[in-house]
Symmetry: C2
Subunit: 149 residues, 2 copies
Amino acid sequence: MDSIDKGIVSCLVANARASYADIGKSVNLSTPAVKRRVDRLLRTGVLRGFTAVVDPEALGWATEALVDIFCRNNVAPERIREHLEPFAEIAAAYTVTGAANVVVHLRARDIGKLETVLERLRGLDMVERTTSTVILSTLLDRRAGVGPR
Amino acid sequence: MDSIDKGIVSCLVANARASYADIGKSVNLSTPAVKRRVDRLLRTGVLRGFTAVVDPEALGWATEALVDIFCRNNVAPERIREHLEPFAEIAAAYTVTGAANVVVHLRARDIGKLETVLERLRGLDMVERTTSTVILSTLLDRRAGVGPR
DNA sequence: CGTGAAAGCATGATTTT
DNA sequence: AAAATCATGCTTTCACG
């Protein structure tokens, strides 16, 4: 993981469909050299894969919320994950410090669907209660990117 | 935006580097037809682009937090966005309902860097106070995906 | 939308540093 | 060990039916 790898990762984050030839021009490497490094980055897990960035609204996925989940007992994170996994509406889920145990990022077709999902969440044995915060607008979204500096 | 487009989007979300020929096999379309549809999906904004999914830890980007920001005055969302944009550590930012005005998803190299960013955030004129929740683990992360059903 | 052709790209084997 | 070159087979891309 040297500075050339970082350059390659940056190129692929910016455009996952860039050709190895184009990436090579950016980092001053031949096409096969870029491919070998990308293959290695995939093998070692630095690169987890390549994906399309979809506009959720364009797919009718307009309503989002951040839900704090307070668990009844001390449930193990892996057990929590197993319970949340079936919820297709969960865009992300985190265990956190603070009063709540888990924060879940929900994405649903509309407020009605959001409510349905919340009811299903509250129906889980491990869930004591939830508090929801509806997202009004997305100001920034760089989650697919690499982060600062 | 018909069912074929949805199939194409699913393929690209699963693997943004899939060839048009392979996608075509999935959706029963010729290679150029797939390309035409992808070009159109990009032009109309349904597809915003293609990106690499990077393991943040592998890049030393290990510490994350969700920060509630309480603004001093009624600041317009676009103005808030302008203030937050320079923070490279912001992975995502949302305006929300509830007590706080904005929720920011921060990603930093370590707790020390996280603190520095929080201090800079609190230094903004518009920010009255913040409350932070440190992320202990990521249970699920489907942010790049398309969502339920 | 499909077909076919031309240009460009991916990728493995081989050679070079 | 890692990169460049080269040769092969696919991919992309576009004009046309």
